[in-house]
Amino acid sequence: MQFPNAAKPPVGVLFDSAMGRIDDVLALAMLHGFEGKDQARIAAVCVSSGDLQAARFCDTLAHFYASATTGTAAMFMRFTPIGLAEGKPAAEPAMFKPATANPAYASSIKSIDDTADPGTLIRNALTAQYDQNAAVVLSGPATDLAKLLDMYGVKDWIARKVRLLAVAETGVEADAAAARKVFAGWPTPIVTVGREIGEALPFPGESVARDFASSTDHPVVDAYRAYRQMPYDAPSGAMAAVLYAVRPNDGYFKLSGSGPLRSLVLDPEQKERIVRAYIELASAKPVPRKPPHRPDEKKDDKKDEKK
């Protein structure tokens, strides 16, 4: 049921990533920034590489950004499980070790049983979205999404709920068959983010020391420092995909081509603005969370009180 008079919540983003590059970490941090500003909701996070450390890091990040929530809202807060593809990862990036070993951060993931099958997680997340109010961001191989398309009845859910699939192309080639399947069978518009876009919009490394100082311990900073020898700037394909998925109409990018499969085109005049948005969102402080969106809860609570 959808309540016709209820305002739609912000777009629900389903983020499926190999979590193999620092760009993926920053993109997920951006999503938490959007969520803190109530401009997007993280509906699902999946790690397609099979790396348990990466899944634990994603969970750590969720706990970190929820850490400002207290009182009743904290008591009723529910952490959505992290999706994790099965199988041994090709590589286990060292960037997650400092954060996952730091006792200052919380995580509920100890084994693969503490994670979810990506397809089931995404399917379940879609059932909780308003029609055409979800966006899927893919960074890395399309293996999870290809499997999703094979699940019973799920293609219909995607067509109904998802308005856009944004694909950061770097890493998609790791599973060419899955990529072909998704590009051929995905039932919504697709926008690709070419490698050149991410390289033309590097995330400035100096921001890590300057803009993330709100917390003494910050898992994003830990990962950034561990990923490569500092200082360095990071390509931002996944961040561009997230930015477009959440704010498609804000003029950050132009689109090439027409039809259901299009590509982002960088407008040089927007470059500075885009990087500013990256920094602002990725470095956003944790803010208290609202209770889950339940359109008629207030009315129903009153009814319950009368009982």
């Binding site: 049921m1 009743t72 499980p81 049983d113 994670t115 089931t120 059932t127 359109p295 129903d300």
Partner: protein, 446 residues
């Protein structure tokens, strides 16, 4: 080759208005020496408790072989080799999704249907529950395709949870997507259904008859004597135990009716419903045992109390309503009371398991040939969580399940995946049910 004419499986002891089905006897084996090759049927039952369970008292901190069980499950410890405990099974369709408050209505209606019910108090709609899919196929072989039982009087109309019809909170089984099957609450009504001629009696008529009441076993005594002469000593003992258990049920019902009449002859409660929870539970499960033992049915759903119930538990000195207590907001004294209620329920269940386990059938026990699911549609009743649902199976589904274990699946694993695996054991094979994504693995012996 030596052969002997076997006693038909569907033999009844008949008398005036009475038909008593028999348990599985060696004499029902088609030929001498073939008893071992005749497999008793697999039965399944669902015992549903409402308002979630205090999960820190339910989940062990380990996987694999069951050892010491947590507080709530402690009564089942003597039977741990016969149970399988599941972790992380989820009913996504019980969640709000876009329908706002009403988790009690949704979790109960979706529990066996695997679909999200329509939020309404008028034009109800859920789905055909999986017990009914099984009953439609295996029920042709039994007198009753299924039995729907409960213990708490509950209305079927009106708003029981934030805009959800009472039909959602007060029924487990759904024959069609618009037709729930209300549970039978009254032990006398169930007894007459199991052994009578199908005509329900009014309390007044029953009281008149009580003046002359004899046991139903008196009515079938001629048939019993005739049968006994054809049975071997083992079967005679089995038959005697079985008929004694029926007589004991009968006595208990009579006692309840007598007690109820003394308490308040005008009580609205069904005439034969015991005031005491444990007594009621025992009567209902004793009859479930007989129904399984004599193959009257292979499918039972048992809604212990209705979802969202505010029933107090004065039997264990808890006068507070169950549902309000579960919204404990992490207050230790309230959590303790909910834990006591949860433990009390499991104690009754464990007593039933002990009984059904003590009955020999084929090469093992009746329990070996059962899949008795005990569980709830919510895990944490305080937060209304629909994941990691407290779920266990007692029995081995026809010596097929490797029991005595805790199996933790991945988070979000659909409960409906368990149902697909159970349907397989019942001989009903379907590809999808509800929001299933496949069959639950790691259950079987092989």
């Amino acid at each position: 080759m030596i052969t002997k004419k076997a006693l038909p499986r569907r033999t009844f002891l008949r008398g005036l208005g009475t038909a008593v089905a028999l348990p599985f006897l060696d004499a029902m084996a088609p030929a001498l020496g073939a008893a071992k090759s005749v497999k008793p049927p697999v039965r399944m039952a669902f015992v549903y408790v409402p308002n979630g369970i205090v999960m820190q008292g339910w989940n062990p901190e380990y996987e694999g072989t069951l050892g010491e069980l947590p507080r709530i499950l402690k009564p089942l410890e003597p039977y741990r080799q016969d149970i399988t405990l599941f972790g992380n099974l989820t009913h996504n369709t019980g969640r709000a999704l876009l329908d706002g408050a009403g988790d009690h209505g949704r979790c109960c209606a979706s529990y066996l249907t695997g679909v999200q019910p329509r939020k309404t108090v008028i034009d109800i709609k859920a789905g055909v529950s999986f017990d009914q899919i099984v009953a439609n196929q295996v029920g042709k072989a039994t007198r009753f395709p299924s039995l729907e039982l409960g213990m708490e009087d509950a209305r079927q109309a009106g708003d029981c949870d934030s805009g959800y019809s009472c039909a959602y909170t007060n029924n487990l089984a759904w024959k069609s997507e618009t037709q729930p099957l209300p549970p039978v609450l009254d032990p006398r009504a169930l007894f007459e259904r199991l052994f009578g001629n199908g005509v329900a009696m009014t309390p007044a008529a029953r009281a008149r008859e009580n003046l002359y009441r004899r046991s139903i076993l008196d009515f079938v005594s001629d048939d019993t004597h005739k049968l006994e002469t054809d049975l071997g000593p083992t079967d005679r003992r089995k038959l005697d135990e079985y008929l004694s258990s029926i007589r004991e049920i009968e006595r208990q019902i009579e006692k309840t009716e007598k007690d109820n009449a003394q308490i308040d002859p005008h009580m609205e409660k069904p005439y034969g419903v015991p005031a005491d929870f444990a007594e009621h539970f025992k009567l209902m499960t004793d009859m479930m045992t007989v129904a399984f033992q004599s193959d009257l049915t292979r499918v039972i759903t048992f809604l212990v109390t209705h979802e969202g119930t505010s029933r107090p538990y004065r039997e264990i000195d808890i006068p507070d309503g169950h549902h309000p207590l579960t919204h404990h907001r992490n207050q230790p004294d309230l959590i303790e009371k909910v834990t006591q209620i949860n433990s009390y329920h499991v104690r009754q269940f464990a007593a039933w398991i002990a009984k059904i386990r003590s009955i020999r059938e084929g090469d093992g026990s009746l329990l070996d040939n059962c899949m008795i699911v005990y569980g709830a549609g919510l895990s944490d009743g305080n937060r209304h969580l629909h994941e990691d649902l407290p779920t266990l199976i007692a029995g081995r589904g026809g010596s097929h399940f490797k029991s005595g274990r805790r199996i933790v699946y991945r988070k979000e694993t659909p409960m409906c995946n368990l149902y697909l695996a159970m349907m397989d054991r019942m001989g009903v094979h379907v590809e999808h049910f509800g929001d299933s994504t496949g069959r639950l693995d790691a259950l079987d012996l092989t």
